[in-house]
């Protein structure tokens, strides 16, 4: 019984490996689906903006509010913009964006492709002379890989605006001096690692969602499972990647 489960997991791992390898093969092989990639970038990026904006703004606002009492004990509230900037740019912005996208975009991709699989729409695409992997998978994975870093930068900015609002209310700091302190604290490496990390998160969300949807079993139950598995697996992988990036960046800082 246990060996059968291990066998199944290993087979699943092999399937994931083949799926990822096929993605890279199809990525570099013409024809390229530029129109569909742009369409998917719009779906992933623009349609996520309202939720990302709200979450980012509240994250900045609440995090600043919760951090103030600790700094007040040491009379160090002047350090609030620096503390918040480091936390948001290095960790919160990419992580919050990725988790929101895993829930919204990842589940959407899993359910959409799962539904297409179950209703034979993917087969219909294949028999009408279109490569469904390139059209559906490559375009979606590229879109998430491109758009999540951009959305992360946007989330970082919106979260800092939320933080500024809170700081302005309590400490009456001007907009210019708040952002002066933010940019004095944040280094190029902070921004660079955040963008690269967000790229990995985006790739993970896209490839996991597509894998689960593209390989969903028959029936409507399979569609629900694909959407659920897309969210759970991508969130799990995002936390592991976050930890790995922190370790790498810390070793780079010496």
């Amino acid at each position: 019984m246990i060996s059968k489960k291990i066998d199944q997991k290993l087979i699943q791992l092999g399937n994931v490996h083949r799926f990822v390898m096929r993605f890279f093969k199809e990525l570099v092989t013409p024809p390229y689906e530029f129109k569909e990639i742009i369409n998917q970038c719009y779906e992933v990026g623009v349609k996520s903006l309202p939720l990302i904006s709200l979450t980012g703004f509240i994250t900045g606002l609440v995090f600043t509010n919760q951090s103030r009492p600790s700094l007040e004990e040491f009379g160090a509230t002047a350090m609030l913009p620096s503390l918040i900037a480091i936390a948001i740019v290095r960790a919160l912005a990419p992580l919050v964006t990725a988790l929101i996208a895993a829930g919204k975009v990842g589940s959407n991709i899993g359910a959409e492709l799962g539904s297409m699989k179950v209703t034979e729409q993917i087969d219909a695409m294949e028999v009408s002379g279109t490569n469904p992997f390139k059209f559906l998978v490559v375009s979606r994975v590229l879109a998430t890989t491109i758009m999540i870093p951009i959305l992360s930068c946007y989330t970082g900015f919106i979260a800092l605006m939320g933080s500024f609002l809170n700081v302005y209310q309590h400490e009456s700091v001007s907009f210019v001096s708040f952002f002066d302190q933010v940019f004095d604290t944040v280094t190029f490496l902070d921004i660079f690692q955040a963008v690269i990390k967000a790229g990995f998160f985006g790739f993970t969300i896209g490839i996991v969602g597509c894998f689960e949807g593209y390989n969903s079993s028959k029936g409507t139950e399979g569609v629900g499972k694909a959407a659920n598995a897309a969210v759970v697996a991508s969130m799990f992988l995002i936390f592991i990647e976050e930890q790995l990036v922190v370790m790498v960046v810390q070793s780079l800082r010496g």
Binding site: S115, M116, T119, E120, Q121, D123, A124, M125, E126, V127, S128, G129, T130, N131
Partner: protein
């Protein structure tokens, strides 16, 4: 009255299948199937659900690979083609799915344009519109051009599914249960459409069904899939002139039950 067979070219077979075997794990679905489809012929494959009828046409279109045997379509062995060659062959095969498989997120127009835009890139906008309107007219649904698939009835979805395959003007049509889940009047309309397609587009077709009325109305020749093999073949009346209990049960269920 049975259909005339003068339009069939018996000198040229467009599909040639020899000793085809296909299994899924321990489930042996096709156990040595031999089949020929002649140019211009409507061949009906009859059989109970789960006997591998749909598997057969999926193997023909290259969606599934055979375990053993050869599948030759329009002079090409399907299992020996590379991806590019298979894509090119598929453009000559129209596949009408059981549930129509229309793209939910696209309008009828976009569904019909999809294969055309992607495979005939030299066409102008005017030419694409003309093709779409023409193929919609031939299935009698010109008014549905801007509707979403969710707004169509089952019969209309079937027609649009057939129109989407016809837009590439295939040489072979594969119909998977074209009348399943439809009322008798709509079934007759679909049967007439299959015959019209054969006449207008000069296609050779395989029609998978368990509906004997459909088989009688559209079939030039009928083969019966029993226990993974084609046990009987011929004209409709020849098929059911049999003492085989399985064949009798199939006939009785359709026409008596």
């Amino acid at each position: 009255m049975e259909k005339k067979l003068s339009h069939i070219n018996y000198q040229n077979s467009v599909i040639n299948i020899k000793s085809l075997y296909k299994s899924f794990g321990d489930l042996h679905v096709l156990k040595g199937v031999d089949l020929q489809l002649f140019e211009g012929e409507n061949l009906v494959v009859l059989g109970r659900s789960g006997t591998g009828k749909s598997v057969l046409i999926k193997v023909i279109s290259g969606l599934l690979y055979p375990d053993e045997g050869s599948v030759n379509v329009l002079g090409k062995d399907v299992d020996e083609l590379d991806e590019k060659q298979l894509m090119a062959l598929r453009l000559r095969i129209g596949f009408s799915f059981q549930n129509s498989a229309l793209y939910d997120s696209m309008t009828v127009r976009e569904n019909l344009e999809f294969p055309l835009v992607r495979n005939k890139r030299s066409l102008t906008r005017v030419e694409i519109d003309k093709e779409v309107e023409q193929v919609l007219a031939s299935v009698g649904l010109s008014q549905a051009i801007n509707q979403m698939p969710s707004e169509l009835s089952g019969g209309q979805r079937k027609r649009i599914g057939i129109a989407r395959t016809l837009i590439l003007r295939p040489d072979i049509m594969l119909y998977d249960e074209p009348t399943a889940g439809l009322d008798p009047i709509t079934c007759t309309e679909i049967n007439n459409l299959i015959n019209d397609v054969q006449e207008e587009y000069k296609t050779s077709s395989i029609i998978i069904t368990h509906d004997l009325t459909c088989a009688k109305e559209v079939g030039d020749r009928i083969v019966m899939l029993l226990d993974g093999k084609f046990e009987r073949q011929g004209r409709f009346n020849d098929i059911f002139d049999s003492e085989d209990d399985r064949v009798k049960a199939f006939y009785d269920y359709n026409f008596i039950a």
